[in-house]
């Protein structure tokens, strides 16, 4: 038996390593995705007044603090036993949509496009966003602009791009001004032009990635996501729907909040990231995915015409329930398109400037669960609060955590296809990492901590001798 360690995984958010175990014939027998950091938000919040929770929980992640702000605020609102004003629901929705745009743009352009444009085997020194900027300037500029579009909306609504404290228990802390709304709407046509151009580029180049598309975590799983009553995508609201690879419904119109009824969490000693599984099928059979690929599988439609057209094209080409995780990339682009349209639609609501934006209450229930779709998938915050409003306990189930089992299987699958014998081409290593990039994991979120490390790969023979070594 020998082992390869890929350390660190780059161009993802957070800290991780990959280990690959081979037998005497050099065939891969197992592989693992180790998440190597942990901060303990489920405990450090204990004793805090619950009104502080959203902004505290925002610090779980600098890419998707908005997701945590929303899920946390919703959990607090359950404790308060309030329904927040409709305009606050809508305003939060706009911020969430903007967050999805910027986060998906980051994932696609900054993190993954180097592989897609320059090739998985391209020289590692230039295989990054700056390499993309040189080789395809328009693509890079579009990426920067799309991310900026999303971030500026967050800033206009909440005062800051990262960790805006505007989302609070009870609603939001101030209403939207007409000038801000108009500024955001003025940026929509440009944003649409850019995503259309990117989608066009992607679809024109799919033939280049056929091999990877067939190999990257391409196996049937369950899919989970929030869906509105009418079958449209839910994002910050909606009920849970779960389907299998053939479209069979395992749950529909289901209240996602009592998650302990349908989800279990397991610990593996080799990772700080817990594995969540669909309880009905047990562990480890209860494998499921969340995030863009899963969402597009569970919803009937997105809810805006142009994006639904793209969704139909996607389904025509890939089938109704595409299983390869490679298609997360395509799903992400379609979601960006939909989110931009949805932002414009929501901001055009006549009530969007209403100034009753916040409900006020103290604890009226001892417990609350808040659920929302982060860019990477379904996010749940669960708190227990005493009668004085002090948090007693918390449990968080984070988007990327749902995907842990699928990522591990994905790594094994890709390793099996591309890793063999005593030679380790660098592009092979990159492909093992690239399957992780499809999921766009947020590892700070998932273990409520992050980190980073260098990469050194050693192939050790059964006697411990170094057979081959690669460092980058």
């Amino acid at each position: 038996m020998s082992e390869i360690i890929i350390d660190p995984v780059t161009r993802i958010e957070g800290h991780s390593r990959i280990s690959i175990q081979l037998d005497e014939q050099g065939q891969v027998v197992d592989a693992h995705f180790h998440v190597t950091q942990f901060r303990g938000f489920e405990r450090i919040c204990q004793g805090r007044p619950f009104h502080e929770m959203p902004s505290l929980m925002a610090r779980i992640c600098g890419i998707c603090p908005v997701s945590h702000l929303i899920a946390s605020a919703k959990a607090c609102e359950e404790v308060m036993a309030v329904s927040i004003p409709p305009v606050a629901v809508r305003l939060r929705r706009v911020m969430n949509l903007a967050q999805i745009v910027q986060s998906h743009a980051l994932s696609f352009f900054h993190l993954s496009s180097p592989d897609l444009l320059l090739g998985f085997d391209a020289d590692a020194a230039g295989r990054n966003f700056f390499g993309v900027a040189e080789a395809a300037p328009q693509l890079a500029l579009d990426g920067v602009a799309m991310r900026k579009f999303g971030q500026q909306i967050i800033e206009r609504l909440g005062g800051k791009r990262v960790h805006p404290g505007w989302i609070v228990p009870g609603g939001v802390s101030r209403p939207l001004a007409a000038e801000q709304r108009d500024e955001i709407l003025a940026g929509v046509p440009d944003a649409l032009e850019r995503i259309r151009r990117t989608l066009g580029w992607y679809k024109a180049n799919v033939a280049r990635w056929v091999d990877e598309a067939s190999a990257f975590a391409n196996f049937p799983t369950l899919y989970m996501g929030l869906v509105h009553e009418n079958g449209n995508i839910g994002y910050s609201d909606g009920d849970m729907r779960v389907v299998d690879g053939n479209g069979r419904l395992l749950a529909d119109h289901r209240d996602p909040r009592p998650y302990w009824e349908y989800l279990g969490e397991s610990v593996e000693p080799w990772s700080y990231l817990k594995s969540t599984y669909w309880k009905e099928f047990g562990y480890p059979d209860g494998l499921y995915r969340v995030g863009p690929l899963a969402r597009l599988n569970v919803v009937d439609r997105l809810g805006t015409p142009e994006a639904d057209d793209e969704l139909q094209l996607y389904r025509d080409r890939l089938g109704r329930y595409p299983a390869s995780s490679f298609y997360y990339h395509h799903a992400r682009l379609i979601e960006i398109l939909h989110c931009i349209h949805s932002i414009a639609e929501n901001l055009s609501d006549p009530g969007i400037l209403d100034d009753r934006v916040r409900a006020v209450a103290e604890p009226n229930r001892p417990e609350g669960v808040g659920v929302s779709e982060a860019p990477r998938g379904t996010l749940l915050h669960h708190y227990r609060v005493d009668e004085n409003g002090s948090v007693q306990w918390a449990n968080l189930i984070i988007a990327t955590g749902h995907n842990n089992m699928a990522m591990n299987r994905g790594v094994l699958e890709v390793a099996r296809k591309y890793v063999r014998g005593t030679q380790i081409p660098e592009g092979m290593l990159n492909r093992v990492e690239a399957v992780i990039r499809c999921f766009d994991p947020c590892l700070s979120c998932s273990t409520h901590a992050i980190g980073e490390m260098p990469l050194k790969v050693q192939l050790l023979g059964a006697d411990g001798r170094v057979l081959d070594e690669l460092a980058r």
């Binding site: 660190p8 161009r11 901060r39 992640c61 590692a124 990262v162 960790h163 279990g264 260098p454 980058r472």
Partner: protein, 177 residues
């Protein structure tokens, strides 16, 4: 004229400071014209190179891997910048310090678990007794507080450093904002 070498590293943080760095938007490509990004979570160089001119470090030093990494980074960097409150004061990761790591691990891996409760290890790095700011482990040349510091502030600091000046951040940024 050779371009300067710039690196970014994240330790125990949330990546918000890196996002704020990217919030420079177009100015990022401008920086890329003046410096090579020789190591970063955003690029695929896996070994931290020697003789790096400027390294921006985000995040507190919270586990054994962070500790090893920051020492190595310091030994290969000319100017080290503590970027953001986690690196400067340990901020939110430091909230665990009065209690130590044990109650956190207990809550996450024993209590909030359906099956197989256990503490992860040894293939993942152990938590240090306390989460520490970077300058408690290695010398730091520039401090930029903020949670996160704004893109304008980060750009200004990088711009000054690439121009060969050590920026005085004393009255520029405040903790928490």
């Amino acid at each position: 004229m050779t371009k300067a070498s710039l690196a970014t590293v994240w330790l125990d943080g949330c990546s918000g400071c890196h996002m704020s760095f990217l919030d420079m938007d177009g100015r990022l490509l401008d920086i890329a014209g003046r410096a090579n990004l020789v190591y970063s979570p955003l690029v695929d160089i896996k070994e931290f190179p020697r003789n790096v001119d400027v390294t921006l470090v985000e995040g507190a030093v919270s586990n054994e891997d962070d500790l090893e990494k920051i020492k190595m980074v310091r030994s290969r960097t000319r100017i080290l910048v503590s970027l953001g409150d986690c690196a400067v004061t340990s901020n939110v990761p430091g909230l665990r310090n009065p209690y130590g790591p044990a109650p956190l691990l207990q809550r996450a891996y024993i209590e909030n678990v359906t099956i197989n409760p256990q503490l992860p290890g040894p293939l993942v790095p152990a938590l240090l007794a306390e989460s520490r700011p970077v300058h408690k482990i290695v010398d730091v040349d520039v401090f930029l507080p903020g949670c996160p510091p704004s893109a304008d502030q980060i750009f200004w600091v990088v711009d000054e450093l690439l121009a060969g000046r050590i920026p005085d951040t004393a009255t520029m940024s405040r903790f928490g904002t």
